[in-house]
Each structure stands twice: as C-alpha cells, then as structure tokens.
Subunit: 370 residues, 2 copies
C-alpha cells in the first residue's frame, strides 16, 4: 500500500525527507554508525560497488567462497582486474577462520565473504574472521544480503568495513534496492583506488545521500516500501527499531531450528550440517531423488514455493527460506506439507514426526526465553 501511494517526484522536499529517513533507519537496522548507501539495483550491484570502489587493477584480494555467491565475488574481483586468492569450502560446508588465518597475508587489500551463503544454507563465522583482520590494512567486505535480519552482527565492534543487504530479503519488500554501510577506512581506501565506477560510485552517493538525494533517479516506490517495512519493524519492537530487528532475527532462528529438527527427524540430511544459517535451510534430496520433484510437488499440491539448488547443485537439494514474515504458522504448515510431499514422492517417513519435532523445538525455545 505504501508503494502504491508513492507518487512523489524524487527531486522534491517530500522525497528528500523520506530518503533521509530510510538511510537513517537502515543505519539502525544494520546497527552501525557508518554511512549507509542505497542503490537501485539487485544486491549484486552493491557487491560490484564493493569491488570497483575498493580495488585497483592488480590488487590482491582474498575471497572466502562456500557456494555460488562466493563464486560471484571471485568473478567480480577478476572482472575488475584483481589477483584473486580463494579459500574454497565444498558445497555445504563453511570456510573456517583457521583456514583464513593460514592464507591471509598483508598483501591482501580486501577480504570478500558471505555471512550466509544462500546457495548452500551455510553460515560463516564473521566475528572470528573479522578478528583476524584487526590491526591490519585489509578491509573486510561482507555480503549479508540474506544475513541482515536473520543473523546477529556487531558491525562496528567487529570492524566490518562494508556490509551489504537487499530489499527483498529480511526487510520483506520486493527486489530492486541494494544497500550497504561503509566504514571510514573504506572511504579512505577510495581516495587511492583506480577501478572505473560511475553508476555504483559510493562517494558520489555519500555526498548526495547527505542531502537526501540519490545520484540517479531512484526506485521511488521501493524506497517508500522500505520505509514502511522499517516502520513495521519499529512497531514490532514497541517503538524501537533495534528491538524490532532483534525480534526478526530471533524469529528466523526459531523457524530455522524448527525446520532443521523436523528434517532430521524425517530422516533427511541437512545440506549444511555443521554450520547452518538461520536465513534458510538447505536439505539434501533423499538418495536417488531429484529435488526438483519435491519443489514441483510443493507448488502443485500446496501452491507453495521452495527453491531448488543453484547451478551444479540443482537436483541435489531444496531450500526453505526463513526471512522476514515467515513465522511459526508458516513454518509448521510448510513442515506438514513437506511430509505429504515426501510420501507422495515415495519416501518412507512417519507422518507427523517432523511436526512433532518442530513443536518440541519451539517449546524448548519458548521455555528458554521465559
């Protein structure tokens, strides 16, 4: 409704006030004192901005890659002429801080990583990796497109130089906006880097953002939608946006735990067993079965959308999101439907076992919180 009503022109006092308000709210949502920058693009646009603004051709960078989005960092850094060293975890596993410690050298100008790798459902230990960079000149850039609003970050305390989010994830509005916060030392780095940047020029956006404007025509309707979504979170937090954001994270953690418990009690294997994210749960397809069958049955029988694996992982796993509005009711109903889908696909399970396990997980969490 906020989007449908957003008919203002972007070069007006009304829109400048809205834009400034959204930038200020995003700061609180991210939990940082750093400047926040907004782009009209998918999240990949802010990833590109983190490469073209922070590097020069020939720079050596370290990419922590645990899936398709880690591979995107590699492709982006190579596109802009960087020498890329990659620490690669097999799909379904996380890169450990120990591996980073072994590989990291002062020659690395930037470390690029995902907080949560949504192609595999893995969570990275951002805090420990950030600790390795303390006191060095290496910048830390974290793609938290599915991490923000599902995972706790201490952005300034840990020293995350750039953290990236997207509008269609935990902030619950349609795709089309990317945002990131940028640290003082990242701004200083931009004074010496030489890769070309125009649409994704962070410094230009910072300058215009201070006046409540974007450099180029922004997606006005999505900015209005984002404002309403952040107001909703503030309301959920009893007038405190940070509290609302923390409830959102706790909600994702709860839905993720319920889903993991249910999957395991149904005899399914978690694709990201050792370090699962709260943003989504990736579940390995039962042996010998193409996961597309499960995705298809979900849609046909229940009108519900779950995701298949990406790229080479297609057919091997299915992914269930816990971002934003998904709550207890959505999670329980999805698990109930999953049981029917599995039986229809020919998997032997005990009907109700997943539901019961999810309810138990919920009860434990409720008791712990009480």
């Amino acid at each position: 409704m906020a989007m449908a009503g957003a008919t203002m022109h972007h070069r007006t006092a009304d829109f400048r006030a809205l834009y400034s308000k959204v930038l200020a709210d995003l700061r609180v949502f991210i939990g940082t004192r750093n400047d926040v920058i907004l782009f009209t693009s998918s999240g990949t646009g802010a990833m590109e901005a983190s490469v073209c603004n922070l590097t020069s051709p020939g720079d050596r960078v370290l990419v922590i890659s645990a899936g398709k989005f880690g591979e995107r960092w590699e492709a982006l850094a190579r596109t802009f002429g960087c020498q890329v060293d990659t620490i690669r975890a097999p799909y379904g596993q996380a890169v450990s801080p120990m591996q980073v410690k072994e590989k990291l050298t002062p020659a690395h100008s930037v470390v690029y990583m995902q907080a949560t790798e949504s192609s595999t459902g893995v969570r990275h230990d951002v805090a420990s990796i950030a600790r390795l960079l303390k006191g060095t000149d290496t910048l830390l850039v974290v793609d938290a497109i599915t991490g923000l609003g599902t995972t706790n970050f201490n952005v300034d305390g840990w020293g995350i130089d750039v953290i990236i989010g997207g509008s269609q994830k935990a902030v619950m509005i349609p795709p089309g906006l990317a945002y990131c916060s940028v640290s003082e030392r990242a701004w200083r780095r931009m004074e010496i880097t030489r890769n070309p940047r125009y649409y994704f020029d962070l410094r230009k956006e910072r300058k215009n953002g201070a006046k409540g404007e974007s450099s180029y025509t922004p997606s006005t309707v999505l900015v209005a939608g984002l404002s309403a979504a952040l107001d909703y979170l503030r309301e959920q937090g009893g007038g405190d946006l940070t509290a609302g954001r923390d409830l959102l994270i706790a909600n994702a953690e709860k839905a993720a735990l319920m889903t993991r418990c249910a999957a395991q009690s149904l005899g399914l294997r978690l694709f990201a067993e050792d370090s699962p994210a709260s943003a989504l749960t990736a579940i390995a397809s039962p042996k010998g079965m193409d996961s597309g069958k499960i995705v298809k049955l979900f849609r046909e029988r229940f009108g519900a959308v779950i995701a298949n694996g990406q790229g080479e992982m297609k057919g091997q796993l299915f992914r269930i999101a816990h971002l934003g509005f998904y709550d207890y009711l959505d999670t329980i109903s999805m698990i109930g439907a999953l049981e029917h889908v599995l039986i229809e696909a020919g998997v032997e399970i005990e009907l109700g076992a997943g539901l019961c396990s999810a309810q138990q997980a919920f009860t434990v969490l409720e008791q712990a919180a009480a």
Copy 2:
C-alpha cells in the same frame, strides 16, 4: 494495481513468461528487430552499459552534448578510459548534423548522443546524424530515455545501434528499470572490447533474457507494472501496440505544441527555441526572476510539480513534461495555472491569452488530422 499483485518469485515459470512478454513488447514499443535488454537500475545504468560494453580503455569516442545528460556521456566515457571528443552546443541549442559531419572521423569507435536532452528541452536530429554513420564502423548510441514514446524513431532503418529508455518516462510506471535495444554490430563489437562489466554485462543479459530470465534478481513489481503499461498502450491502439505507441507520441507532440504556443503568447521565451523536444517544454524564466519562484508557486497554489533547471541552469528556466499520461486536460489546466502563477509572481500578462493560444493550436492539429 499490477505492481501490488506481483508477488511471484523471479525464478518461476510464471515470471519467466512475464519477463519474455515484456522483452517482446519492448521490441515492438522501440520498433526494432534487435534484442532488447532490461536492467534493474535507473536509465543511467543502461548508459553505463553502453560505455563499458562497447569500449576499451584508450578508445576515441565522439560525444554530442547539449546539456547535463550530454555531459553525463562525457563523464561516463572518461570513467572508462576513453579519449573523448565533444561537440558542445550552448544550453538551449542543439548540435547540428553539419557540426557532427565536420568533427566525425573513422577513429571514433562510438558516437554517444541524446535524442531529447531533457535538461534543456532540446531535440536532436537523430536521423541525419545516423545517416552520417552509414557505411562506417562507428556505432551510434542514443539516450532516448525521454525520447522513446515522445519522438518517432526508425531504429533499424536509421541504424541506431543502441537506443535507451527508462521505465518512469513515456511508459508511465515508477522509476527503477532501464531498457535498451542492441544491434548485431554492437554485439560483435563486444567480442573485442575490454572494459570491465559485470552487473551491466549486456551479453550475459542477452543469454539469460532468451530464457526469460535476468542475470540478477530483477525488480519484479516494476516488470509487472511495465507489462501492464504496455498492455494499456496496446489497448489504446485497438490491440496494436505500435499504433498505441504512435498515439502516445502524437499526444506528446500535441501537448508540447499547445504549451509552446501558450508560452509564446504570454510573452515567455522558449529555452529551446530552434529545436524543441516533444518530451518536455523548457521555458526561460521572465527577466530578473528566479524560476524557483514559479516552481514553488505551482506547488503551493496548485499542488502541481514542474521542474526547475538542473545544475548551472537552476533558476533560469522551468520545465513542463509531456510524457505518457499527460493529455489535453492536463495541458490546458497547467497553462491556466501558469497564468495565475505568473501574475502572482509579478509578471504582466493577459489572463487567458495562453489558454486561447493553446486551444487554437489544438484545433489546428485536430483539423489537420481530420
């Protein structure tokens, strides 16, 4: 309403069908057999794509500049390491084909220009400039962000290699999408160019577009809105999108002529006297008056938004759009309001003179069409 109802995920058969339909409709709207590419960005994103995909560092390019958007081509081409030759017209004037003929050499790999320069209200003679490039290896890139849907183009006949549009202009939906068509020789050029491109990689988008997908998460709601807008134009054209597009252009031409006649009969000077665009009319502020006063009175007295000048032109002119839905009623009411605003600002005019002149212009056009 179409946007509010667009809740589909972008990696589904439903969305692929919608995306393919929009790309096919845009081809008809642009009037080309070339591939059409869509980006989630402002129009500037497609301008950047036309530079980073079609040039290598050191390439010599020719920019035709008649205002702020021509200057954007210069800045973009320099950002990507091009040697930029510029033919510059004073603000309010167009660059003539003769000037281009004198300056153009076989060393120019690309000519960048605006069809309509919306900072000054000037129209360029795209057909004549395109003719100069026939039989040469120089590509022609036309920013028609305000040109498409307000101006006639024979894209393939004239040989426009890339023509660029934006969602918030004549196609009447909110900002956030850019689109362009790309010729075969432009695709071939991309095989040898070496500037970095990732988010705005045209070839990647072409490959994915053929499958009904975008490379990165698209602004799904705006794609749904664009589809509905193009359906509306098709309906206006009695089931023929080309006919609907031509009505849209005729409507802009009519509103522009009415506005120009009204302004002149009120003793105002057209900022783009010799070669005015139909996309918008730029009117010079009465002598000694800051045009901001007129913009402000419009907003305060009538809740209407007209635009001030941009950059150095701020205060010198005001701009009235004729894009998309603006029709006879909007144009007449705006002229009526302008007369009151001018009187309130202390300009001596004859009340009703602008309205009468606009009505006469309308009558002449109606009779000519009959």
